[in-house]
Structure formats: C-alpha cells, structure tokens
C-alpha cells in the first residue's frame, strides 16, 4: 500500500482516538448519543487500485462532502476533492447514502455520481509533426459499502470498500504529411478501480 495512504489512514484514525481522551482531571466521558438526522461532513481518503496499462495501478483520491441525513437514514449531499488518475482531477459529484442504523457501529452503502474536471494544463509540444496535447476529465461513478464507528457523539471514523469508474481523455493534435487538415487523436481511458476508503465524519 502506498505510503500516502498509510499516512492518511493513521492521521484519520488518530483524530477520533484523540477526541476520546479525558479533557482533564475530574472530567468524565460522556455517553455517545446519535441524533437521527442532521448535516454532516465527510472527509475521506481512498486508494484506487486496479490493473492498468499506464503503470499507475494505485492512485490517491481525497474527497470532502457535505450531506444531510434524514430520520429514515437516507443521506443526500454533494462533494468535491482531488483525484489523480493519469492526470490530476477536480471531481464534483452528488452523494447518496443509506445509513439505517443509529448505533455506534453503523454500516451503510453509498453512491456518488458526477463529473471530474481536468486540472492538467495543455501540454504544448512543438514537434516536427506539430503535436500538442489537451487533457479532459469525464464521468465519475462510485458505489460501495462501509461502516462508521462513532467514537464521539459528533465524530466517527469510517472504512469502506467500493468500485470507482472515471473517464479521462488526452487529445493529441497531429499533422499528417498528406491532407490539409490536422488529425485529432483522443486517447480515452476508462478507469475501473477497486476503492479502499478510510475517513472521518463530523456531525
């Protein structure tokens, strides 16, 4: 597993553990009580793994989302973050989660769908055949399941596994020796990745 994933996992696990430490002499630990509905923020980091032809079998993804949970356990929200799948990406997505339990250990399933914008600038290359490159993001789909462990009334740590689909493309403009027009060559990659997610939830 890449070092950055281990580092972020350690950091995220440390937050709820630290949050449970006694505040000082004479302070008692409060009983965890979970409200049935309300807003929450979810910060997560994921390792996206899969077989790849571009020598990047593992990629990092950091997402931050804000959502509202109804009393029935359905969560609606939206989020963004930073992904790196061949090129750096800024994703925007809608978030749907079903989290039916009100227990300290709470399993759930989630769905994300949106579009990721490329953060890579155009790569101008002045070659003899006049090639230059443009990068473009594309559709994002993500689904999975996991759990939240509420170690503090308003803070929980989560882990999850899922599937991530992301489409990106790189477009090369080339000049064929014959003909008058340039040739446009769009190389499209559809990333199919297994997602291992850890994160922290603030309510």
């Amino acid at each position: 597993m890449p070092k950055h994933v281990v580092f972020i996992a350690g950091l995220l696990l440390a937050i709820p553990v630290w949050s449970q430490l006694p505040a000082g002499p004479g302070t008692s630990t409060e009983k965890v009580e979970r409200p049935g509905h309300g807003y929450f923020i979810h910060l997560s980091s994921s390792n996206l793994a899969g077989r790849s032809s571009n020598d990047e079998p593992n990629s990092l993804s950091i997402h931050l989302l804000s959502a509202y949970k109804t009393s029935k356990g359905l969560c609606f929200g939206a989020g963004s973050g930073i992904d790196h799948l061949e090129i750096p990406l800024l994703p925007f997505y809608a978030y749907l989660r079903y989290d039916p339990f009100k227990t300290k250990f709470s399993p759930y399933v989630w769905l994300k769908s949106g579009y990721a914008v490329s953060l890579a600038g155009d790569d101008q290359e002045n070659t003899w055949y006049g090639s230059y490159t443009e990068s473009k993001g594309g559709l994002l789909l993500n689904a999975g399941f996991g759990f939240v462990l509420y170690t503090w009334p308003n803070v929980g740590v989560n882990m999850g596994i899922g599937y991530r689909f992301q489409k990106v493309s790189r477009t090369y403009h080339e000049y064929w020796w014959g003909g008058g027009e340039e040739a446009v060559r769009e190389i499209i990659t559809e990333f199919n990745r297994f997602e291992l997610q850890i994160g922290v939830i603030f309510r």
Binding site: G50, S53, N54, G178
Partner: protein, 425 residues
Amino acid sequence: MKNLLKTTGFFILLIAAMTACEDRRYELITYEANVPVYMDLNVFRNSFTKSEPVEIKQPGKIYFKDGYLFVNECGKGIHVIDNSDPSNPEKIAFYNIMGNIDMAIRGNILYADSYIDLVAIDISDINDPVEIDRLENVFPESVPQGDSWYPYARVDSKKGVVVDWKVRTVTEKREIYEQGGWIYINMLTFNGTGAVDGSWSAGAGIAGSMARFMLNNEFLYLIAHPWLLKTVDTESGSEMQVVDSIEVSRDMETLYRLGDKLFIGTTTGMLIYGLDNPDKPAFLSSYDHITACDPVVTDGRYAYVTLRTGNRCGGNQNLLEVIDISSITNPYLVKSYPMYNPHGLGIEGDLLFICDGDAGLKIYDRTDPLGILTNQLAHFADIDTYDVIPLEGILMLIGEDGIYQYDYTDIQNIVQISHLLIAGE
C-alpha cells in the same frame, strides 16, 4: 483459529478485488482520409457484362492470344481488339469487369481479377462471354487507388467490396495499437494503377514483363498480395481452387515463367522458384538489387531486369541489369546499364526491347551482354512507353497515348504499322 482464517480470507478477497478491476483504453481518431465506398457483394458478383466497344481511357496490361489483343482498362474491364491484321486493329467488344487489372488466358477461358475475386470467363464466343466460375476473396486486401495525398480509413469487408474512395473527415474508434485505419496504407493492395505507378504489362499467353498472373498449364500463379503468392488449379474450368499459398518476405510485383522456373520481380530483388511440382513452387535462389520496381524477363541464360525511379517502389536509380542465371541457385550480376526511366521490357531472339519511359522505345542486340548499350539497333524517342509484347516479328507496345504496333521482321527497317489512340488524344 477461526478468526485467523476469517481474517486471512478477508485479505485474500481484498487483494483479489484490488487486482480484478482493469482499466480500458481506446482511441478516437478524427482525420481527413480516403473513406471507402462499398458495393453490396451480391451486386458486385453479378456485375460482369459484355458491351459494345468503348473508348480506351486508361489502358493497363495487355495480353495477346490467337489474334486477339486484350487491353485492360484500369479498374473497369478489358477491351477486346481483333488484331488479326496488326496494321488495322479493331475494337470489337468491352468486358465490364469491376476492379480488373490483370488477366491470363488458357484455351478458351479468360482468367481476370475483379477486386477481391478471380473470375473465369468462357470466351469460346468472343462476343458472348459467359462467367463460369468465381473464386471469392483471392485478393482480400485489393482496393482501388485513392487520393494518395490522404491516408486511408479502415476497411470493413463485411460491408461489401470497396469500389471507390471519397475524401472526407472520419472518426474511427479503435483499440490502442490496433492495426487498420489511420494511415492504413500498408495493409492495402492497390489494384488501380495510374500512369505514375505504371503497372503496365505485356503477355503472350505465357510471359509478360509486368504480369501479376502467370499460367503454367492448368496452374495459375498469382500475386494475391505483395507478399503472398497463390497457386490456383484451373484444370476444371468451372471449379477453380487455391492449392498453395506462399508467404514471401518481400514486395512482389511481377511474374515471369520460363519452362519449369518462375521468376518473381520484387522491389528488392529477383526470386527464382522451381516448378518441378507445379502446384507447389519451391524457392531456389534470389538476386538482390536496390529498392525499385523491377519487371524481369529471361531466356534461361540471362535475366534482364529494369529498375526505375519515380514510383511507389522507391529507388533512386534507373538501370538495366543483366544477370547470369546459368547457375540457377547462384545468380550474379553481369553488368548494369544506365537508363532514363525504364519500364517494361521484352526479348525475342537476339533482340531486347526496352520501354524507357519518356525516352521512348529502345531496341538492342543483346548477343553480347557486356555491350548492350553499344549495340542499339533502333530508338523511337517520340513516344512515352510502358510495356511491350514482341511476338513473331510484330511488336505490340502500349504507351501513354495509345497502342502502337511495329513490324520488326527486318531489323534494319522497323516500321510502325498501326496506332490505336486512347480517348482525348
């Protein structure tokens, strides 16, 4: 122990899941190209007809048989010319054979290519030809010539036979590194030849300096693709079948047979195959030369090869090469002669006829292979020549502005006896 097994199982599943997902990459290529125009296969395979004589516009290979001269109209069909009187050749019919370039005649059966197929036509009655057999997909990559300024889009043979190209913008979806499409030229065999490429042929039933078809009794050898030589058994006139295919690691262009030897002109040399088993040509030897188009003719002792510039074969020299093949497994160069832009050639007796492009027709005494240029007998400089058939004192020559015939029975007094103009001349 149970927990350990569960944990181990979980991690195995996790690792399996992490490697189960695989990225997919493909390309969308948008470019201006020659895009194929298809014809339905059923329509194409029922398209052979005979019509009244038409104008000769773009003559290709020529073939002589029993007083008739057959002249290919590039990609369209075959003009039938009654040449019983060479001083007065008369067009009598036109055979509409789509995509036709080559031909050969055995007995009363005309064998002709038609884009991807080989057709057998019974010409017992020259005015009532009947298609009696068709060998499908013998030339699977054969297509007409497009606009050479543009690349070629991918061909989908399921859509039919390619009968034309249109230049327009096309978007192709393909796997990364997939063959075909996007500068697709390497996989194609162009059967349309213009004056620039000059794939002109001669042939008198047996030999032609630029023929791609060559008969050996019931066996028809044909260059199905620049690197694929096929042998077709034509014994049963109505049931042709491919009996042998040989992959050759060179670009083949022309075939010439002498006795039990098959001489193959390639862009990089001459190959010699033995025909002891006529259904299975066997490699004997090769002679390498510079990269160029190279028709070849031979008398069994010497082979004569012309090499020229200004064509798709590449090359930068214009030469006549004389090769000693008396030891068939060890051919060697006797002498090279500079030429202007030599195309087809022919031999009869001690005479060597060379079509030297714009420089016209040159006739040499080839008795001394070391002194051919100094033994020039005649030079007709005012014609643009492509190929010749010398036959029993009559020279049939095809050039840019028509079909010329010369009487050379008196070598000191070679005279032009006819000139059949092509359209627009």
